[in-house]
Symmetry: C2
Subunit: 344 residues, 2 copies
DNA sequence: GCCGGTCGATGAACCGTTCCAATGCGAGCT
DNA sequence: AGCTCGCATTGGAACGGTTCATCGACCGGC
């Protein structure tokens, strides 16, 4: 069913049908009626490819994520989708699964599809793959990465600030020795969060003796958290509070401590990071740092729309503030600290 | 950068460039070299729209989900993506958010984009919106819905069987009175799971006195689970085992029982459904019914590929078996049943 | 009766690629 | 030399819409 079939049925030229579709006010009401009837009768569906070929936009946005099954990313996608569907955009969603080669393949495919813009969580922190796309003039916005230094639009969260909030919270509760169970330095987020925790510690030290004991683990998993709990119990001085680089680690620590007979929050206060869905469902419910995921995606989409519509465009790196959600797992320090509770 | 620019630079006709791209063996090695060099020099990227217009496929699959932020769906998408990316397909992902109107809008957009096929979790169980697409001849496969009765391909899980497994497991552990905390009858899954639980109960009754106490709640949430726990404790005869229509309910029940001083699994055995990530992380770790989500998506994608490539195609409704994952929350019944443990 | 202007409709060019019939050319055969 | 054959390459039509210059009809004014 083409525009030509519609024209024939309505007894007009194909140009007129096109006008009915694109600028209806140019067409006389009677003719317009007849054409619309013919469209309904034929079940005509406009062909985006032809539209696009003649110089129009593709009404398509490419989204390349590290992992499509990760709720953090999908919540961002949801935010982006809600913004973009208002403008009749459709998302082409690709999961690079953290493979640079696969990412490159997808970039290529999206370029061939002539997407109007791209939302990317890049595999390579140096943005090698992305540079190519930008050089080709495809509007691009980074997700969950600061693109400022590369002159790109981006929407990201201040990870240092999040860890700072967590540490600050624990110091303010009266804890003076805090353990920070952190992931490997190869992960940017871990590096940033360490920086934030240290910053808070430096500030706390001005008020009273304060220490941050850093415990690095190999991965951000529950199992690693359980192992970290064992190491925690052997520490001297023994921390009365623990913060973790993410909620899975925190859950592991919680299990490890509970198994060893250490009560949370009575003996040790615990704070996670990410505020995943189940954080609020644990017993005790977990204090955690929430990232504005939906807003992140929505903001990135807005930036992209701006970049698409206005060619001369000032690149902006939007940075969001994380939020500390205080729940039951973090209680004030008992005075004096009940270090005796630990079984070395 | 078009194929014409490449042709000019290489000093050949545009037909030759097309041949280099599509059937390289038709072109003399020397010429091929020159053309490839020219392609590299110009940075030429093939335009899918033009390709598609000329009669090719769009290499695009539309995926319409109820909720893109729901891990159940995204895990399916991951399975589908892994299959489809091997064939150089890109996914157009749309979240209907359970709105029929929005779903319809997306269907329309995907049709205009001339997707080669569709993967759908339909909003309307009667498939009103989908019928239109099928009539237009767009290959369509249903996800997580049985399409057999509508003559459609589909990949779904046998929900009745899952609940049957759960109930069977509890009866086999020696429990004779089981409570089933189920969601509203407007949700297909809840209806099917009820059916399965009843089936298992009928069978258990042949061996010895067995009862299924059905407790219906308004929604599949943690909060509703907690409320259900209160109702559970007031039941007579008192169940020694509880199965739930999903893991959130189970978590709520767990919290409710624990708060009332009832121990799981010592006093009451507990089984969930879905096996969400945190099910294994709870204390006690939750016995649950796992659905082969990834396989579901992958199978749907395979079916779709078949339907796309072979025009005369026998529609198939693939049905997966769920799997019971036994963990710590379900223990054998103590004999005689320690109903005294309950505080009415 | 002629002119200018407006409104509505027309049709051809164009977008970038694919596909196919046609062409050119050299080798091999009679 | 004339012919056929095969290979490499070419040129142009086609895909389905959009855009725009153009055209025709009609009306009012002089």
């Amino acid at each position: 069913m083409t525009i030509r079939d519609v024209a024939r049925l309505a007894g007009v030229s194909l140009g007129t049908v096109s006008n009915v579709l694109n600028s209806p006010d140019l067409v006389a009401p009677g003719t317009r009626r007849r054409v619309l009837d013919a469209i309904a009768a034929t079940g005509f569906v406009r062909n985006t490819a032809a539209h696009q070929l003649r110089g129009g936009r593709s009404r398509t946005i490419g989204v390349v994520l590290l992992d499509i099954a990760n709720p953090f990313f999908t919540e961002m996608v949801r935010g982006a989708e809600h913004v973009l569907r208002e403008k009749d955009y459709v998302l082409m969603l690709c999961s690079s699964d953290e493979s640079a080669e696969r990412e490159q393949r997808y970039f290529r495919a999206l370029e061939e599809h002539r997407v109007d813009g791209l939302l990317i969580t890049p595999v390579d922190p140096e943005l090698d793959g992305v540079a190519n796309l930008v050089a080709h003039g495809i509007p691009t916005v980074l997700l969950d990465r600061d693109g400022g230094e590369h002159g790109l639009c981006s929407a990201s969260v201040d990870d240092a600030r999040g860890a700072e909030l967590a540490a600050e919270h624990l110091f303010e509760l009266g804890h003076s020795v805090i353990a920070f169970v952190n992931g490997p330095g190869t992960i940017r987020q871990c590096v940033d969060r360490r920086e934030g925790a240290r910053r808070a510690t430096r500030r706390a030290r001005r008020l009273r003796a304060s220490r941050l004991l850093e415990i690095d683990v190999a991965a951000l998993t529950v199992e690693q958290g359980e192992r970290a709990a064992e190491r925690l119990l052997a520490l001297a001085p023994r921390p009365t509070a623990v913060m973790c680089a993410n909620d899975l680690l925190a859950l592991g620590v919680l299990r490890g401590l509970t198994a060893a007979g250490v009560a949370v929050p009575e003996d040790v206060a615990l704070v996670g990071y990410d505020d995943v869905t189940f954080a609020s469902m644990l017993s005790p419910s977990l204090t955690s740092v929430r990232q504005p995921k939906y807003e992140l995606g929505a903001a990135a989409a807005e930036l992209l729309l701006q970049e698409i519509t206005s060619p001369a465009h000032e690149h902006r790196a939007v940075r969001f503030e994380p939020e500390l959600v205080v729940r039951a797992s973090s209680a004030p320090a008992t005075a004096p600290p009940r270090t005796a509770t630990f079984r070395g």
